[in-house]
């Protein structure tokens, strides 16, 4: 139990950088909605951060990282941060807790994609508390807190399964319960402020270095590897998505930045297990796969409005499987499918698909309960005038 000054300094800075990703996601999403909902969209991310902070320090952290109960959930050892102190192994326990907190926060913020422009704020707060407690915390425990997935040997370096599969498939379930926006498919709902989306995307890309490299929890070579493959995968995703959309029309900047995010999502579980060349393949494939998923989503007329499912859900699922394919023992100590380790690929598949099923079904149930009791959605008139005025009494337009 010796603290390392270098590691502690590094993880402190990473925690602050990952915190920035949640408001950044708000900007990323905010630019994609109509002007009457832009404040609401950005505010939902800040609100997610605030809700999860309080939930995490009271109950969330202990449910995720308390002593293992049946492989499913953590015990109440650390309730209210009891026993989480300034000492620790390498970095202070307090810092580890804070680093994990900012991950939990962004997961809830990603979910807001599925309810954009129509969610009732009060219901979102109640739903968010339930979701982070009953969906995110168990998943974090499975992967990192000594749960069944970790015992089985599933690899998730920085949260591809825990953060991205849970929120991506959750967003899809949530969008199915809340229903389509009024006029979806009938009226144009084009993004109204792409510059804000690009700014948000830039900040996400920047924060992702901390998200992935910081997950090494030490300032070491593995962190450097994670940092480099993160950069490469983002660039590859940006180029392939842009290329694929170029074939169909103009290469939009929105497509380019979406591809970068897809590449970042896909490398998240893999960044401590694969090298630079593998990350080109992972990021590049994710760009095309997520773009295809988005086209499928539009074709099927799902109003998962800002494509958290296509990018985070499917990108995360692909990343989890790709980790099982491309892992190199020289980097993370485990070989993947291409080096003959079939077992690891199967483990990755089980872990990922259980997470898909659990997060989709649980989110669907929670959303249904909230919808039947206090109602998830604003009234038709409130939706028409926009959530900025209806929910916050503020507006970009007046």
């Amino acid at each position: 139990m010796v603290l390392e000054a270098g590691d502690t300094a590094f993880v402190l800075i990473c925690t602050a950088m990952v915190m920035l990703m949640t408001p950044a996601l708000g900007l990323f999403y905010g630019g994609m909605v109509r002007n009457k909902n832009i404040i609401s969209m950005i505010a939902l991310s800040f609100i997610s951060l605030a809700i999860v902070t309080i939930q995490w320090v009271t109950i969330g952290y202990t449910l995720s990282f308390g002593h293992d109960i049946g492989g499913f959930i953590g015990g109440l050892d650390y309730i209210g941060l009891k026993g989480v102190g300034m000492d620790g192994d390498g970095i202070p326990d307090m810092l580890f807790m804070a680093f994990q907190l900012v991950f939990a926060a962004i997961a809830l913020a990603i979910l807001t994609s599925g309810v954009a422009e129509r969610i009732k704020l009060s219901s979102f707060i109640v739903f968010g508390l339930l979701w982070t407690t009953l969906v995110y915390d168990p998943l974090a425990h499975w992967a990192w807190g000594g749960g069944w997935a970790e015992s089985m040997g599933a690899l998730d370096f920085a949260g591809g399964t825990v953060v991205h599969i849970s929120s991506g498939f959750g967003a899809l379930a949530l969008s199915l319960v809340i229903g389509k926006r009024i006029g979806f498919g009938k009226y144009s709902m084009e993004p109204e402020n792409i510059t804000i989306t690009l700014l948000g995307g830039a900040l996400l890309w920047f924060g992702w270095f901390a998200f992935n490299a910081g997950s090494a929890l030490a300032a070491d070579g593995l962190a450097a590897n994670a940092f480099v493959v993160t950069m490469i995968s983002a660039a590859s995703g940006a180029l392939t998505w842009m290329g694929a959309s170029w074939i169909k029309g103009k290469p939009s900047s929105l497509g380019m930045i979406s591809g970068a995010i897809a590449g970042l999502v896909a490398i998240t579980p893999a960044c401590g297990f694969v090298g630079p060349l593998e990350s080109i393949i992972i990021g590049g494939s994710a760009g095309i796969l997520c773009y295809g998923t988005l086209l499928f989503r539009i074709h099927k007329k799902f109003d998962e409005s800002l494509d958290a499912w296509a990018i985070h859900g499917v990108g995360g699922l692909f990343g989890a499987l790709a980790t099982g394919v491309f892992a190199v023992a020289a980097i993370g100590g485990v070989d993947g499918l291409i080096y003959g380790n079939v077992g690891q690929f199967i483990i990755q598949g089980i872990d990922a698909f259980v997470a898909v099923g659990y997060s989709f079904v649980m989110t669907y149930i929670l959303a249904k309960i909230i919808d039947k009791t206090i109602g998830l959605r604003v009234t038709e008139e409130e939706e028409y005038v926009g959530l900025d005025v209806a929910q916050h009494g503020e507006s970009m337009e007046l």
Binding site: G183, Y187, S188, E381, Y384, V385, V389, A390, G393
Partner: protein
């Protein structure tokens, strides 16, 4: 010649534009405007507290056409922009004395 000024719902602009183009009316000027009708905006009820949004965003379309085309334009716009609910907008028709094309200096007056 007449100037037709239509105040419509912003989300109906695409449909109105397409339908007008189909009938051969391509030229137009549009404005983002705000306004209200006899109902004085939209009133939202929030736990008994009234929250009035009194100026609602709309789109204004200005089109200048020959006298015998007015009917067709009005019909196209009303059909494309109607939802049947309060707030569908209004159309105003006014006379135009003369139109001058800046590039050619050609003027039309009738």
């Amino acid at each position: 010649m007449k100037k037709i000024t239509a105040i419509i719902r912003p989300e109906k602009l695409e449909t109105v534009k397409e339908d007008l183009a189909e009938k051969g009316f391509n030229a137009m000027t549009i404005f983002n405007v705000k306004g209200r009708g006899e109902q004085k905006g939209i009133c939202l009820q929030f736990r008994g507290k009234r929250n009035v949004i009194d100026m609602i965003p709309k789109i204004q379309i200005d089109i200048v056409v020959k006298n015998d085309e007015v009917e067709a334009v009005i019909q196209t716009i009303t059909q494309a922009a109607r939802t049947g609910k309060i707030g569908d907008g209004k159309i105003f028709v006014s006379p135009v004395e003369m139109v001058v094309a800046i590039r050619t200096e050609e003027s039309i007056a009738e």
